[in-house]
């Protein structure tokens, strides 16, 4: 079920009514919320909704067992065995659905081909037979929507219970609601157990005020970014340029890359905004996931602003346990590289995602070294003068744009063609061009939506919050109508659904 659809609007209206009507009966309310989340997921596939529920039950059982062992002062190696079991279960689930195809089709078989050719006809015949057996089986593996998101949530829960940072949820129902909660189920934010499980256990009460104005603001901003800006940029600029880069001249390809940079921000941050807004209307609070990422002055700063829930997850559960920056420059570089290579793989099973991750890891290591040499690596270092900060912003935006070519390219041939076309002044097909006043305006509008992130407009938001409910509701419906009128027919799925 997609957010900007009539089906979701009807679904949410029903859930909102029943969720608050059941406020006096917590257990029924929790059961209803879980049923609603499974229905939301089952709308796409009932089979995988069952798998999601099974994952919740298994992870909760593991967490309860680890907690019981810790309370009974069981040896560390026994507790560790359960932790390894939990991590293996979650990574196994993710690995099977997401990486099996990549391992066989993009890594193993291409590696075996030259070896078998050298070994002779018998080896070649064996490889051909193996491929004929494996490829039809690979074609049957369907990637469950949002598996990377809910698996990472489950992993953080198991790891945090093992480290005794959080207690296991009071009941499996609370944990299942945490894992399957429909607003953030398929594309995040990746909310930590410490933040959401207590809210699921307690459930928002009728006496608590609802941040309706903020919720409505986030939902409308998200709808605008997705249905008007991201869809327009995708269909008019980014998709054609990435589909046929050889047809375009360098400036057109450059605008296509800018358009993709703005599109992916508008698309993904829109999902987060709508998720946070719908959760707020149900009385739950999520942390922010974006904070004007293209205003970053360093790449490190960019990762503090882009997909914050994933970057902080990778920092806390991968980078820091690997040793972080505590063991010298060489080790820090290796840790950064491992973290970002795996971060790249998290996004998708393709060599271009690995290259994207490697680029970010290597750049971050170089940036760290450079900032240290300039004495600007301290947290309390004075801010750079504004011209330097502005140049830093422009530079980092282009560094990130360069990495998006790998991210969006999908295949090495596309990336090469994009880079080749960037250096060509004239288009292969003369009448094909992307530059127009409208194109530039749409890229600029999408870029400017970053001003809506965080609490940059908090004064205006406070004023709107003081409006009576009827005025807020009427204004929101009118703005929604304007957004829908500006958007194209039909709705494209969110980019991050595929991850």
């Amino acid at each position: 079920m997609l957010f900007p659809t009539t089906a979701f609007a009807v679904f949410f209206f029903v859930v909102f009514q029943i969720h608050w009507a059941l406020a006096g009966v917590p257990r029924a309310r929790k059961a209803f919320l879980l049923a609603a989340s499974l229905f939301f997921y089952g709308f796409w596939s009932w089979k995988f909704a069952g798998m999601l529920l099974a994952s919740a039950l298994i992870n909760h059982a593991l967490a309860v067992r680890m907690d019981a062992l810790a309370r009974a002062a069981a040896p560390q190696r026994v507790r560790r065995r359960w932790l390894v079991g939990g991590v293996a279960f979650n990574l196994g689930l993710l690995g099977f659905f997401k990486y099996t195809g990549f391992i066989f089709a993009d890594a193993l078989f291409p590696l075996l081909r030259p070896i078998c050719l050298r070994l002779g006809p018998a080896a070649v015949a064996w490889l051909v037979g193996a491929q004929e057996d494996v490829y039809p089986w690979l074609a049957k593996i369907v990637l469950p929507v949002g598996i990377s998101f809910f698996t990472f949530q489950a992993l953080s829960y198991v790891l945090d219970v093992h480290r005794r940072r959080v207690a296991p949820a009071r009941s499996w129902l609370d944990f299942a609601n945490y894992l399957a909660f429909f607003p953030q189920l398929v594309a995040g934010p990746i909310v930590r157990a410490a933040e959401l499980v207590p809210q699921m256990e307690r459930m928002p009460g009728r006496a608590e005020p609802i941040e309706a104005a903020r919720a409505v603001f986030l939902i409308l901003v998200g709808l605008f970014k997705k249905t008007v800006v991201a869809n327009w940029l995708a269909t008019r600029l980014a998709d054609p340029v990435f589909a046929w880069p050889e047809r375009f001249a360098g400036p057109d390809v450059l605008l296509g890359v800018y358009a993709y940079a703005v599109q992916i921000y508008c698309d993904f941050s829109a999902y987060s905004d709508i998720a946070i807004g719908t959760a707020l209307l149900l009385g739950f609070r999520f942390p922010a996931n974006f904070n004007a990422p293209y205003f970053a002055t360093t790449l490190q700063d960019f990762w503090r602003r882009w997909h914050i829930s994933l970057s902080s997850w990778l920092r806390d559960y991968l980078y820091v346990p690997l040793g972080g920056s505590r063991a010298g420059a060489a080790r820090t570089t290796v840790n950064l590289l491992i973290t970002f290579l795996l971060g790249g793989l998290w996004h998708g099973a393709a060599w271009t995602f690995l290259a994207w991750g490697a680029f970010h890891g290597i750049y971050l290591a170089l940036e760290r070294a450079m900032l240290k040499a300039l004495g600007r690596n301290k947290r309390n270092a004075p801010p750079a003068p504004w011209p330097v900060a502005l140049l830093g912003r422009i530079w980092i935006f282009h560094v990130v744009c360069f990495s998006w070519i790998w991210f969006r390219g999908g295949r090495l041939e596309t990336v090469t063609a994009m880079l080749h076309s960037l250096g060509r002044w004239r288009a292969a097909v003369p009448e094909v061009a992307t530059w127009s006043a409208l194109s530039v305006a749409m890229v600029a509008v999408g870029f400017a939506t970053q001003f809506l992130d965080g609490d940059r407009l908090w004064r205006a938001a406070r004023k709107v919050s003081a409006w009576p409910a009827w005025a807020l509701a009427t204004a929101a419906a009118i703005v929604l109508t304007g957004i829908l009128a500006l958007g194209p027919e039909g709705v494209a799925p969110f980019i991050y659904f595929q991850f």
Partner: protein, 83 residues
């Protein structure tokens, strides 16, 4: 706590009323467009269901002239943007 971090909320009853009113106004303003979207769904029980739901709403709202703001926006800004 910083003033900007203080949550500003409204009582549940008012928020509930606001949500119901929002849905009513949004439906009134968009029923005709919604019905047109449903007409291009692929044939089957889903399409029949949505048409049965949106048809009467679209007729009523069009008779009352509620579809005009959306039609005006689509004709002007929407068309300029999407053509």
């Amino acid at each position: 706590m910083d003033e900007r971090e203080k949550p500003v909320g409204m009582p549940l009853k008012k928020a509930w009323g606001g949500v119901v009113l929002f849905y009513a106004v949004a439906l009134a303003l968009n029923a005709a467009a919604l019905h047109r979207n449903n007409e291009i769904l692929s044939y089957g029980p889903v399409r029949s269901f949505w048409l049965a739901v949106s048809g009467p709403a679209a007729k009523t709202c069009a008779a009352l002239g509620f579809d005009r703001p959306r039609a005006f926006w689509t004709r002007t800004a929407g068309k300029a943007l999407n053509e």
